[in-house]
């Protein structure tokens, strides 16, 4: 009885507040927009019995999904989200790898402090960390003032409200997710392997490419997925740092829902976003499992 309750309580909670809501999204994505409350139809009318259920299912169709393929705003937004996620993942890797590497090479007594310094921003409000860049990147912002003062540029650069600002924001906020898995892979690495490679005639550079990088491969893969997957659906960064030209699907979904109040289309956008995410999520979990098996 106790075991049953222990399983049933969290189970039912997740079914009610995680699984069922998805089924509702799926159902509404097949409905039509209506000028009513709630603004979609058909409504399931259980009082009409079987007839009600039959006519309810008969009225569901894939029209919203067809609409998504005809209006090029949507597939452009999906593609541009994937592109932004891909480029910013690579940028985060380029910035994060040297930091993780230097942390793993630092004196052991320093490592807990360095680790703490990487984790600390993660506990600070995401919104505030994005906001911090608005004052820096603005036309009259500190970065432009600094560059003008240095004499590198004569006119302020437009960075805020462009994709460049979005990339900076993503690299900045997601950096800890990249550093931590790479660091934990590099920290476990046996130094004698590097010495062996150098003894056998490798230069330090080629020892790095032939030994260090392959041994940190799992950390790199994990870090890349941890950045890539959430960035695809990102909303805060493109809406605060991006401009009208920044097209990301999280923002499109938000506007479809809050501004256009087209719930069925917003639901269809969500369903397709989920289908896109399923592939990287499965690949990520497979990588994690392989790693666990290799360790255990």
């Amino acid at each position: 009885m106790r075991r049953f309750l222990l399983i049933a309580v969290p189970y039912l909670w997740l079914v009610a507040l995680f699984l069922i809501p998805f089924l509702i999204v799926l159902k509404i994505s097949l409905s039509d927009i209506a000028l009513a409350r709630p603004p979609y139809m058909p409504q399931l009318d259980l009082s009409a019995g079987w007839e009600g259920i039959r006519s309810f299912f008969a009225a569901l169709d894939f029209e919203n999904f067809r609409f998504l393929t005809t209006d090029d705003l949507y597939w452009k937004a999906y593609l541009s989200s994937l592109q932004i996620a891909l480029i910013s993942t690579l940028l985060t890797l380029l910035v994060g790898y040297p930091i993780a590497y230097a942390m793993a090479r630092s004196a052991p007594e320093w490592r807990p402090t360095l680790l703490m310094l990487v984790i600390l921003p993660f506990w600070t409000s995401f919104l505030i960390r994005v906001y911090a860049w608005m004052g820096i990147l603005a036309n009259e912002g500190l970065l432009n003032q600094f560059l003008l003062w240095l004499g590198v540029i004569n006119e302020p650069l437009t960075i805020l409200n462009t994709n460049t600002a979005v990339y900076i924001g993503i690299v900045y906020t997601y950096l800890p997710f990249m550093i931590l898995p790479i660091y934990s892979a590099l920290e476990r690495m046996d130094d004698s392997l590097l010495e062996a490679a150098e003894d056998l005639g490798c230069s330090r550079m080629s020892a790095f490419w032939l030994v260090t990088i392959p041994l940190s491969k799992n950390g790199i893969i994990a870090g890349c997925f941890l950045v890539f997957i959430p960035v695809i659906g990102e909303f805060v960064i493109p809406s605060l740092l991006g401009g009208s030209g920044t097209l990301m699907i999280g923002k499109v979904l938000w506007e479809e829902f809050f501004s256009n109040r087209d719930w069925p289309v917003a639901s269809a956008v969500a369903v397709i976003l989920l289908l896109i995410l399923v592939i990287p999520i499965i690949l990520f979990q497979r990588n994690e499992q392989k790693q666990r098996e290799a360790e255990g």
């Binding site: 222990l6 600070t124 960390r129 004052g135 976003l273």
Partner: protein
């Protein structure tokens, strides 16, 4: 000993400068006298004064803290139960679905979670406000709690629990007297994680709230959309200060607890 290299020193300096300079600038400019955030006009604490007098922000802060305390507490109970089920309950029908539902919210885009919960609340006719945000936050943060707690449950020696049962404890007593003290640091960090996730959340709260409840992130977001303002800098500084003190204290406390626990477990294994 490892060679000290200029490359590593440069990577660390630039890396941490990149992580911390924007926040330092944010804090410094919260003490700026000028309304323009980018022009330094002298030291002043006036924005903190305006912030304290701003009732909308205070109300929002109060709602946010209420939501965070309630949701993280329920999430810690449910998440610890879920972790126990994942690690200890063995096979039961629907186990795959269960672990899927634990891990899926961790990678789910917030816009989808928010949208789906909102559609549920409207579907069952629940008035949107504090209650619906608490339900939403509990759901995604219980998954984080269960991941943190289950990693501790996996690593701890099950024979301690079995010994308690052999010595006449009921399963619940064994949990309360043996398991809970051992996993307590993980439960506490799970609670803290759930608490900060709730404090932080903009997207899910925006979807699931109604006109009666505005949280701080929603308030900040709508203010920030119009541009940079020194009041928001002051608010950010206060939040950064609280988090910094909290994280450092928590890490010191859990470190001490971990050291003590490792010693206790060793002593239990090897009687003198």
């Amino acid at each position: 000993m490892r060679r000290f290299s200029w490359f590593n020193a440069t990577a660390l300096t630039l890396g941490f400068a990149f992580l911390y300079v924007p926040m330092i600038i944010l804090v410094v400019y919260s003490f700026n006298e000028s309304k323009l955030v980018t022009v330094w006009a002298g030291f002043s604490t006036q924005w903190y004064g305006e912030l304290i007098r701003n009732e909308e922000f205070l109300n929002a802060a109060w709602v946010t803290i209420k939501v965070a305390v309630m949701s993280s507490t329920i999430a810690t109970v449910l998440g610890t139960m879920a972790a126990y089920v994942l690690v200890r309950a063995g096979r039961f029908s629907g186990r795959t679905l269960f672990s899927g539902m634990i891990y899926a919210p961790l990678v789910m885009p917030e816009v989808i979670t928010g949208l789906s919960l909102l559609l549920l609340f409207i579907g069952i006719g629940l008035d949107r406000g504090v209650l619906t945000i608490v339900l939403a936050h509990t759901t995604f943060s219980m998954c984080y709690v269960s991941v943190v707690v289950s990693s501790r449950l996996v690593s701890f020696d099950q024979s301690l629990e079995e010994a308690a049962l052999d010595l006449g404890c009921s399963p619940f007593e064994a949990f309360r007297l043996v398991t809970l003290p051992i996993i307590a640091p993980a439960v506490i960090s799970g609670w803290l994680l759930a608490f900060t996730l709730s404090l932080d959340d903009l997207v899910i709260a925006s979807f699931t709230t109604g006109p009666s409840a505005t949280t701080l992130p929603i308030k900040i977001f709508s203010a920030v959309r119009l541009g940079v303002s020194p009041e928001i800098n002051a608010l950010s500084t206060i939040m950064i200060a609280i988090v910094t003190v909290g994280v450092i204290t928590a890490s010191l406390v859990t470190k001490q607890a971990a050291v003590r626990q490792a010693r206790d477990e060793r002593m239990a294994e090897r009687p003198a």
